[in-house]
Subunit: 370 residues, 4 copies
């Protein structure tokens, strides 16, 4: 079944009652990092701002829980509170139905009927839910996105704890199914540890044997990379001979490694400031047309907050952004499911099996050649 993007239906903003709506009010800021009373907060949905009589302008990009700033050139940007500066003009108004000049458009895409019926059931995804169709549709989607989209993966460290899953993900990178990656220090640490010692946290990632003095392995991996100055040098100088980080670096796939309070090291590429890391992550997230988050609650929720449900392409075409969460825990996937978007899905399984299965399925689609 060939994949096709669902059409986008703009709102009827040129009809009553929208014609009578006021333009959106902007207030000028005086205090840095502080929004005015009655500021308007964004969501993941397409949002139209009534700029002047009859002109409802779609936000080019958005994210959860930010504010809308009118720039000097008249364009609208969506900013985190912490980036607000004195003088910024911030959109105000909390009604989402247009009466404040702001229209939040929650039902913009006509997903195929089967999809829309199917998602009636999504409210309670459990370990007993059928996922066969999700794999098939994911193969369709990723085959399309490989050429026409931008696929961002969000990875917890579990993916590198298993040899086959680590190899499979590296193959996904090498074959063009990964356009950006968001992860933490631990993913890169244990990926490098596996390259140097074939272990993760001292345990061999295939045989599960404990390496002698294996609790030193991840520290040694960090220390050697720090000696060289970067993971990239570790790859280029032949220290890191396989794995996910190597595949990303050799294929020029951008990634953001965000630091956390759990980190050892950290590795040189890790962004230690949480909010700088957020900014870098959003730089990738705003390019995403599909996001797949594997076994990481922290990074998955962080990314979910940054990724809008739509993307404006060239020619003002609008398409949905797909968002998949894969985890073992109903609790974790349900946290994301509250996005309430038809384009969000959850699969409950072990991410090792998921990655191996997806790589095998995509490879088969391409006739077994990659």
């Amino acid at each position: 079944m060939a994949f096709s993007l669902p059409p986008y239906h703009p709102p009827h903003s040129n009809q009553p009652p929208f014609l009578a709506a006021p333009p959106v009010a902007f207030k000028r800021l005086t205090q840095p990092g502080v929004a005015p009373e009655n500021y308007h907060a964004t969501s993941i949905y397409p949002e139209y701002h009534h700029i002047k009589k009859g002109e409802w302008r779609l936000l080019k990009e958005t994210r959860m829980d930010c504010v809308v700033v009118r720039e000097r050139d008249g364009s609208l940007s969506v900013k985190e509170f912490r980036h607000l500066k004195p003088g910024d003009l911030v959109a105000c108004g909390r009604q989402e139905n247009g009466e404040d000049g702001i229209l939040v458009h929650t039902d913009a895409f006509s997903f195929q009927e089967d999809a829309s019926q199917k998602f009636a059931f999504r409210t309670r995804i459990t370990r007993e839910t059928s996922f066969s169709i999700d794999y098939d549709q994911l193969y369709d989607l990723l085959s399309h996105e490989r050429k026409h989209g931008f696929i961002v993966w969000v990875l917890g460290p579990a993916v590198v704890f298993d040899r086959d899953a680590r190899d499979a993900f590296a193959a996904l990178v090498e074959n063009g199914y990964v356009h950006g990656m968001l992860a933490g220090n631990a993913l890169a640490v244990h990926d490098v540890e596996a390259a140097l010692f074939k272990t993760a946290l001292g345990q061999e990632i295939y045989s599960k044997r404990a390496a002698p003095l294996g609790h030193y392995n991840h520290l040694d991996a960090i220390n050697r990379i720090r000696t060289l100055g970067s993971i990239e040098k570790g790859v280029n100088e032949g220290l890191v001979k396989n794995g996910i980080m190597r595949a990303l670096i050799l294929n020029g796939v951008p990634c953001v490694l965000a630091g956390s309070i759990r980190d050892d090291g950290p590795l040189p590429e890790v962004v230690g400031d949480a909010y700088l890391a957020q900014d870098r992550m959003r730089d990738l997230a705003r390019r995403a047309t599909t996001v797949i988050a594997l076994a990481t609650q922290l990074h998955a929720i962080a990314t979910g907050n940054m990724v809008p449900s739509y993307k404006v392409l060239g020619g003002n075409r609008v398409r949905p952004v797909y968002f998949f969460t894969v985890d073992m825990s109903e609790f974790a996937v349900n946290k994301l499911a509250n996005r309430g978007s038809l384009a969000a899905r959850s699969i409950l399984t072990n991410v090792q099996d998921f990655v191996v299965t997806v790589a095998r399925g995509l490879r088969k689609r391409r006739g077994g050649v990659w």
Copy 2:
């Protein structure tokens, strides 16, 4: 890597201190279903009873928490308390080191060194444990057992809730990897429902669409089978055209469907009496050389209690019985892990993925032909 069974090491019962041990004491019962004080309870391990000076006899078969009865012909049988009859001679003595004439042999097999080291880590299997080697060793094992063993599967209903998993399991049956099945009413009900209506609990097992009045589907499935008189007739008369039950019946694979207080119907083949069901399950379990339990805590634990860690083959050769538990929940698999046998393993994943992956892996081993 060709699979080979680990050698069995009998205990040194012809050496001191065993030579000085008394023969095991047997007491004659007077009250039905009641053991004498100081009765000896069995475990899953090989157990030797000192019958007469110098003769330590291995139990031909055993299970958890039963008692040993000396039959009139001198043989030893392992009986549930509820099957004890007045006149039965019951073995007494609670020391397991031979001093009561009973020797429990917990370390009987020399598993390969890698396996034994690996299992040092098994104490804490989590969702982040590497499972690649478990799949590979399972392919080795099942390829061996298909011809030389007896593979019993224990299935929760989740396997039939997903089209691909249901198809994959039916293929495992058709290709000789299933020699017995233990399950409950629900598995059979939703398997038949899928055959008749393509749904499970009213939801299509591929598209996830809700069928109109779909909550009647499983009741209608039950009612039609009850009209015919058996699932077997449903298969033979062409009502049940696909699925797991059909594969089992057409391939002559025995199964026990145990009833429970949750059941609708039940289907005619279901054994409503829990203890009769236990007896039937044990009849299958005692033939097992490998057991694989998928997503069912109740049946998995029940089976785990019935399956010993060893099997006596012809010529008094002794081999291990392998026991796999596959579930999404650490809690569930850890319950089984307490078996404490090197031959017990747990895999934490969604059983849908597990079944599809195992069928694919075994098919590949056989050159893609089945």
Copy 3:
């Protein structure tokens, strides 16, 4: 805040379109245990059958997934398929809006506004949901039901694995908050084990110390009770000096112990036949005005299927039946939450804490005296 039952609103069955509805059709059975085509299946909701022109009769009692039989005296009874006999007249028709003469009344009670708004959130109860109000309302409810209702508890064995929880539940029995109990063999086994040996599965229920040869304790407990012939004799003859079973027996509280394939023993009072156990459970369930299910997926779901959302009291007054599920697992409680009744609630916590907290809260309501 004094507790009051929400009023019941009968449907407007004496108005169009109901006046034009046909009477419900009954078909006579020929085959035992098999319903006719187009049989009507019941739910947990109040259901009205159009018996003759203008007379819509409310089912006096109902349960999930059964059929409605018109008895010789004209009354309507709700029967499991397995109880159907040749000659029975079974109601047919699958529309629930009255057009087949059957009206399913899903919105019968006006719960207080806060409750109904609150339950808008119930769709996603998680471990992070606030439960303070649930405890408070439960104290209100149980204080009312103690005198005016019938409280049925459904217990998993975890409650007797902890000394304080076991003592607290026994106190609930002694003080009139338990009118019926549904459980399995394991609950009674480990409760008796605790009475005899202070252990559960060989571990002391307070100090967690392993008792020497403790794995014999539950078998010895079973064996001694089987020697006496019943738990009741064990209590009356002074063997069982404390615990939940003793409290139930001494206070004349009925209980059903349903057998399962996991059981050792079983204890004499256990009902081994799953469907006879279902019948006995339903005999208690049909008296219930409040049900509280603790840490048992099997028994909780079985009971949930048997308990209607309403109860017809004397004088044809109709009241809701409250249903609480308490478990650690989102998966388990969500299974029950699909009842879709405003009177169903879930609390995610350890049942040990739950029982101790509820006992303390109820005791405090009564001035600390019990």
Copy 4:
């Protein structure tokens, strides 16, 4: 039962083979943030370094996965790799038995026999484990630590999502049972949201009612605090009238709020740099004699890595540091249980119930007066 600290047993370092051990080797660093080959990495255990013939010096404080630096004054400090500077002298040697001049002392405390036996069972804490004794011993411990120790709590946001738990924790602060707190932005945000609007994420924390436009509440809470400049001003100027942050501030209890990539805002007190936050956290952690981590995997593991198993008091007395993890998930608590220290315990329950129960238990110990 009065609480008493278990005695500390120093190793026999003045006996063979330790007398023959070499002094520990120190290497001088040349590259910042990079350890020399063969560096020694610390653990949570007491560790003795052989400084000169016969002088084995105990590390005054330690943590997981750091290195030991000999300062100019001859003292030994335990540093994160990222804090290493050129010229630092780093201890080398990986044998832990003294033969490299480094002795890791894993069995230093003689816990009471019952405790030590009990902990034989700790390897598999599950939701069915008995926790009565843990509560009782926790009351003993906290009553002692209130006066004689330093109790650090690590809090996930769940604690402020429930009115009773939030009130109970504030009472613990006010009554002296909280000497330091480690948490993230979210805890403080929703605590302030509750103070301002009685909601958490827009839902009332008692009634569970959805507040109108409630999704603005946490953003408004952040924005108002950012307007004032700090939570502390919010408290002092009367905006924040109740809750945990207010109790901490008014009682002068230090806390570290560590930023993360999930944060909105952040609040002014939040430390955005993960590694600066680590340093601040460790400043508190090194004072801890008891740590209690509630429903937060990230912060709990981060803290677990920073907290040694012992503390050196005045007069070179050495005592254990107690570490409790409370969570709903076996996965989460098992991650911490690998500390392998007898002083580490896990309780599986909802932290709301835990906090309310502990506050009630401690209050009762003090005669109900606080």
